[in-house]
Amino acid sequence: MKLDGREAFSRAGEAARGRDAGRTVVRVCRGGGCRGGAAVAAAIESTAREAGTVLAVRSAGCHGCCDLGPVVTVPAAGLFLAGVKPADAPEIVTKVIGAGEVPDRLAVKDAATKKRFAREAEIPFLAGQTRIGLRNAGRIDPADLDDAIAAGTYGAAAKALTTMTPEQVIAVIEASGLRGRGGAGFSTGLKWRACREATGDDRFAVANGTVLLEIDPHAVLEGLLIAAYAVGAHEGFVFARADSARAVALVKGAIETATARGLLGERILGTDFSFTVRLALGGSEFVCGESTAVLRAIEGLVPEPRVKYPRSAERGLFGRPTVLDNSETLALVPVVVARGPEEFRKVGTAESPGTKVLNLGGRVRQGGLFEVPFGTTLRTLVFGLGGGVAGKRRFKAAMVGGPSGGILGEADLDTPLDYGPLAARGAIVGSGNVMVMDDHSCPVDVARYFTHSLAAESCGKCVPCREGLHHLAEILTRITLGEGTPADLPRLRALARVVADASLCGLGKTAPNVVLSTLDRFEAEYRAHVEDRKCPGGVCRALTKFEIDTDLCEGCQACQKVCPTGAISGAKKQPHRIDPEICTACGMCRTKCKFDAITVV
């Protein structure tokens, strides 16, 4: 039934919140990353039925820590169980739900202290976050509108549509200092104002970016609705990658159910405002996420970026003023509207209020989505929340900003994660990906890898990106193969600078970050490659020789077992030896040695 006003809406919220009265709710995550959630849910349900326990087993969206999945939560008790298997169902029903006791193996082990925690509020990597955009991550079923409404979603939109003018909405967003989370950090309020003030009969509002769609699609739709109301758009699109089947299905369902309930579509919540949202699908190429490429893709054209004269806010989709926001930005909008700009500014920095969802990965103990205030240092992220570098290795570098981000080193660990400070060090906020590298990595090889991939992702429209990235990758490849010369280093730098300066879109402008930032920080390693023909990280095979340090070797034979070429010899408890004639420097042995005995010479 359509909700025809604010009152009907708040009654619906109460009904949704009350629907599980008298039952214990158990949520099993069904995120895209972890498998087995369905079987766990079924097992808990049937066990409870047999035991006569009244449960409401509901799905949950991704918590953002898929390596711990499937996760089962008991929200009423604040419990959070990780790595649950169907066989755990009896214990969960009797012990966990019945008695509030959590077996150790289901509690979350803190990566840094090895202590186990079962209360969500105590789990360090969760408790240490400030989840605003991810407020509903793992707490609602993204496919269930009632869950969303129960959590307060669409409340801010109802407030905006019924009590605020579009100008007031824009003023609130401006006052909050909200910046776009899609990469460039442009002021969302300014963008909305430009769109509202642009001349044109009709406008469009577009949501871009897939991650939040899988976690909380209604929050994104609510933000999009508020954006549309603010700029005066009556048609909108949610742009998702066609290959992320889960996000596509969730958004499709979310649009349908929200429209059926009168939260989208004609005369929303009984007001005069109408806003129709459609789903638009795009390719999985990196450049397909660039804003002008997104708009071209929605128009049915080849998704190539265009030069931003005029800006999309003035002439965007089908030539009409268009506001395009990242889905994380949009998920924050309702929070700003509901709680007010002052509240929003309480976290983050003065230049960048609020939080940013970061995706921590690579050689770190606890990876996943981390939402932290802007200004949080890289050290806090990697060593605090992420529990430090995995295994016994040392931190060497972190690539900050995604595939076109920059590489920061140990000396940069105290850099606040924020647009300005990161840019000053050659990195970006970008996609929010932070990839940690340990001392067994080679910055030259990392630069080669990303430059090579981005060269292939170049749409081919502009010369510096299309041709320049190719030659950067070529030079880097030669260096990692041991064919580089000292003259390559200044050439790399000069070419990378021009590619960054003269490319058309953000892809070409940011792709050289990895080259420039590694040259800045790891010049000695570049020199070792081109002058001494050595790869200090032990990664570039043509330049690597491994040796076993007989003082450290315990003769455990672990390395022997994994060596694919049989290059390692040595009896048990006796120091081992690598035959340099046979060794291909694949590095398998090094990953297995517990005593760090395998060294690069």
Partner: protein, 254 residues
Amino acid sequence: MIAMDIDGRRVVTEEGRTLLDAAREAGIDIPTLCHHEALEPFGGCRLCVVEAAPADSRGPAELVISCLAPARDGLVVRTASERVKEARRTVLDLLLARCPTSDVIRRLAAEHGVPRTSFPESTDGSKCILCMLCERVCAKIGAHAIGGAGKSRGKRIAAPFDLAAEDCIGCLACARICPTGHIGYEETDDERKIWGRTFRMVKCEVTGRPLMTEEQRSFEAKRAGLPEDWFTKCPESKRRETAETIAKAFEEVR
């Protein structure tokens, strides 16, 4: 009216003009490769880069492409600063590596101080710099017969599915607009071959000179709202015919 400082000169232009327009009006030359006034600006070759900053700005100037950047009052534009020249040289260096056999690129590169490329030369013999002028002119005419296929360095100009270009009208606009002469075609008085198609030529009824392809005639006639038999003679025959008609008319009046 908009007044700017381009290379230290005061240049006045109108709203809606680009920096390139304004510079050219003032006789300041900026090299371009993917720009053509018949077509929407594209912004692909990046040869036309200039530095621009508002007069009152204290930050670093922006590197913008003049073929698209709108003229704005008070803008300070530098078309030949070291930064601009470096970007241009690099673009030409890269294009020269891509198309070492193109005389046009060789000459342009040499003019800008790049006598030879500093990158490994491509050996495929292609002269295509992917300026997309051909695709764009074909679309502008309304034929939409050819376009870019693929991405990154593997992108190339092709007919759909690499088959004979079904929608091609054989007008040669692509071959003529191509700055490097990459697009080949063959021509006799009777036939024209391009994009895997062979076209029959319409010939002047008087002199027998080839005029255009039959497909082009139908296409142009339809677009211009003229009958097909409007396109039957070469200009010279038509002039003679007109002159004779006029002479005869005068004769009759007298």
